[in-house]
Symmetry: C2
Subunit: 235 residues, 2 copies
Amino acid sequence: MNETTPPLNCQLCQQKDISAFHNLNNDELDKIGELKTCVAFKKGQMIMHEGARPQGVYCIHNGKAKLYRIGTEGKEQILRFITRGDLLGYRSILSDEPISASVSALEDTFACYIPKSSFFQVIEENPKFSLNVLKLSCHELGEAGKMITSLAQKTVRERLAEILLILHATFGSDEEGFLDIKLTREEISNMVGTATESAIRLLSEFKDEGLISTQGRKIRVENALKMKNVASIYD
Amino acid sequence: MNETTPPLNCQLCQQKDISAFHNLNNDELDKIGELKTCVAFKKGQMIMHEGARPQGVYCIHNGKAKLYRIGTEGKEQILRFITRGDLLGYRSILSDEPISASVSALEDTFACYIPKSSFFQVIEENPKFSLNVLKLSCHELGEAGKMITSLAQKTVRERLAEILLILHATFGSDEEGFLDIKLTREEISNMVGTATESAIRLLSEFKDEGLISTQGRKIRVENALKMKNVASIYD
DNA sequence: CGATTAATTGATACTTCTCAAATCCTGTGG
DNA sequence: CCACAGGATTTGAGAAGTATCAATTAATCG
């Protein structure tokens, strides 16, 4: 499932169809292939740094990362998780603002790097790609609105349940059913927007209630349906 | 400052330069002028309805509105305020998702309506406009990230101060120095993400501390600099 | 001008955070 | 591969921040 480095030829890329490049034809893909370079990030390494001016965008080929802002008191707030097919850095480049959130690798990650000038070139010459990016940012904007409403109105317990479901949807589970992402309790609470101890206490509650089981740092969602109820998600 | 209805000719529109149509040439503006119609909304009237499928976008000519989501328990969460030059409905149309937030007029509002098909036509034919909308949504995405971080990490007191500064920046003040927007205390707390009584209590504190003064529903920010400190804003 | 809705304040309950201490786990270097 | 140091997790206790409920006063709109 996870080969290592991305192919030089974008036509052969396994992530093509789930990326912002999904409906480009072969000629268009070749053009991007010529402009890109491949980059590897070790676990823990920064992929983008808040406040900087990005020189290009990354298309994540494989691996996992977190996108976060540093708030007052230096506490990190995770805005979302990043996985294969995700496009990074375009927000800052297109709005011509400094990078508003950092990204760091949660495990070894490979990405394709497209320099700013090349990215703009593709955006300007290729309306189809431009529309893809537009759709992408509009979708993320909708998700951000949901997150704002949750943070403002839901309890920590509801939000934790919500995040566990998001992790499940984003990263899936391994052969034993554990969430296929290794996060510290602190990272979980930095997404939920709560103190680490509060998240831990609620995870214990969830365990007692049979909603999850844990094994060290690993978490398995035992009852997604019940979890949805806890998260007050009705859809 | 506030004429009534928008002109039929977009070239003459006073909001042209602050809208997503700001750098289009006269031919391009004329084309949009042919496609649009003018719509008036009375105070309190809905401009867009959460869950619906929009049939077009609105460019706000004058007036004020709130953009909000209904959360669990039916409580409204205001995501942002809308004023002249703002574009509405494009998020849903471009991401091909149902409208994720309602908009209702806070005072009588005039807008230009551009049907979905025409909007797509302009997006596809006019890369400059497409890039404008892209910039717009990327900018809003950055703002949403800030709001998420505030909600997750700041106290209600800090957030209330932040909102008062946002209201000041968005709507300015009248000749007496009062914020030029009439909101109920409930609406303020629906932006802050808190109970109405909590917002009221904190406004009383702010009054005692000389940060604001009030006259009925009207609020005047007396000390913006000190307010920034209260909001923990350092920039 | 009166009816109705909004604003305000008080009292109390509940949620969540902070600090502290003990235990567990993980990654690293030998 | 194993042991160990240091960080992460867990639980408890108490403090702080917010929400809720209730009652009164003030403001708004027809």
